[in-house]
Amino acid sequence: MIDQPLKLRETIAYGLIGLGLFLGIWTLLSVSGWIPRQFLPAPLDVITRFVALLTTPFAGATLPQHLLSSFQRYLCGMLLAAIVGIPLGLLMGRFRLLDDILSPIFEGLRFIAPIAWVPFAALWFGTGIGGPVMIIFAGAFPPCLINSYRGARFVDPHLVEASQMLGTGHLRAIVEVLLPASVPSIVAGLRVAAGLGWQSLVGAELIVAASGVGFMMVQAQANVSTPTVMAGMIAIGIAGMLIDVLLRHGEAMIRRRRGL
């Protein structure tokens, strides 16, 4: 239950008030000296550092370059998770035998945090692109699989019957009936996967990468440059938000097309 929706202008105003309060308390805490500057850099220091990082290299690259190499890994991992997870989920939703065989393994594996794969990821795939990609995969794969599974499992039974009655073969039924019927659920899963994948990526880079935003933050920590760490965190937050906004638009577009 939530209160009545507000006007757009009010929503923005309240959002700005919240942000202002947050920044105000933060400034107060660090400038007043209650918390030492090395522990909590002031907002102005962070912003200055953020702007500087846009052009000045740190840990071998500028912030946009770090972001770019993070994005490359991220896209690889997400793509892999979607390519493996969505078809597998659809098949598990369609064929009970496959569901019975794979579900117990999957149910066990999905509670292992993506970061827990770091040692093996580094051992098997190294610290270049392979290791981090595997960790992103570990984060993004479960929601891809679960949501396409649910989509296929709970597809309107009348549509399945209609496709059988029309003499539709297995492959065509999966591609033309099960998959499109599951699209809303799959896209919702991709949104969750995108969030988890992005979180796993940065975690992975903190440990097993030689570039990327996470790597930049570890290097900054080693140099006790707390503003750089903060700047990295802000970049991660903004990039994550942008990814979500993009996917939300995609989702809304699909729903509009379907008349939902």
Partner: protein, 265 residues
């Protein structure tokens, strides 16, 4: 073309004491190009009869055959029109009708010609590229009927096809269906709980009992329809005003009323 035969069909849902006797000893023969409607109280198993012919359910005992061949898995020889249309929302009207034809591996030119015919038959020409959600309920059901008809099925199975439509649309669709089956006769198994609809459309009406569903009575409408020349009357309300119609309808009503209402303790 198709005939349908039910031979001592029993259907029990579930097992043991929890088992639910849905159908009991159904014997029914539907001849070639005959239109048979089943009426009965809700939950009497009339839809189950249709679903067995379609291949969605298997009888617990007994056999159902179409054209003398026992019924197997669902297929385009037994086209179904569902109560809630069951159109694919992501496919246009044309694509919905096309799917069954593509499954038959027909050439594109042949399919296009068949689709054009079906669209014309159902007055859907101007909506070929619309998506189901852009159409009214009546229009959607026209698409579903076109999708079934275009397959040139041996039998047409209609499961309360007009049950989800408003009263006026329903009447129009009933008139359309009469026109359609006159132009292009089919073997039809039609499920409905509307007595008027059954009498207006069917050659014979089967009245079913409450659970466990049995066929209580078969009523021959065709003889009376031909004798009283219902077919020469255009409008459904004029047919429904005829004494012969009212007599048949009342007879079936009484037969249904004898079925005690379900216990609701």
């Amino acid at each position: 073309m198709g005939s349908i035969r039910f031979d001592k069909v029993n259907k029990v849902f579930g097992t043991g004491k929890a088992g639910l006797n849905a159908l009991e000893d159904i014997d029914l023969e539907i001849g070639e190009k005959e239109f048979v409607a089943i009426v009965g109280p809700s939950g009497c198993g009339k839809t189950t009869c249709l679903r067995i012919v379609a291949g969605f359910e298997r009888p617990t005992s007994g056999a159902v055959s179409v054209n003398g061949k026992p019924v197997g898995s669902p297929g385009p020889d037994r086209a179904v029109v569902f109560q809630h249309f069951a159109l694919f929302p992501w496919k246009s009207v044309r694509e919905n009708i096309d799917l069954g034809l593509r499954n038959k591996r027909l050439a594109k030119a042949k399919r296009d010609a068949l689709i054009a015919d079906a669209l014309k038959l159902m007055n859907l020409e101007s909506h070929a590229d619309a998506f189901p959600h852009q159409l009214s309920g009546g229009m959607q059901q026209r698409v579903a009927i076109a999708r079934a008809y275009v397959l040139d099925p041996e039998v047409l199975l209609m499961d309360e096809p007009f049950g989800a439509l408003d009263a006026q649309t329903r009447v129009t669709m009933q008139e359309e269906l009469v026109r359609l089956t006159r132009v292009n006769p089919r073997t039809v198994l039609f499920i409905t709980h509307s007595v008027e609809e059954a009498v207006y459309l069917a050659d014979r009406v089967a009245v079913m009992t409450r659970r466990p569903g049995r066929i209580k009575e078969m009523i021959d409408v065709k003889t009376i329809r031909n004798a009283e020349r219902w077919n020469t009357i255009q409008r459904i309300e004029d047919v429904m005003d005829l004494e012969s119609f009212i007599h048949l309808r009342t007879h079936i009503w009484k037969s249904l009323r004898e079925e005690k209402p379900e216990d609701r303790h």
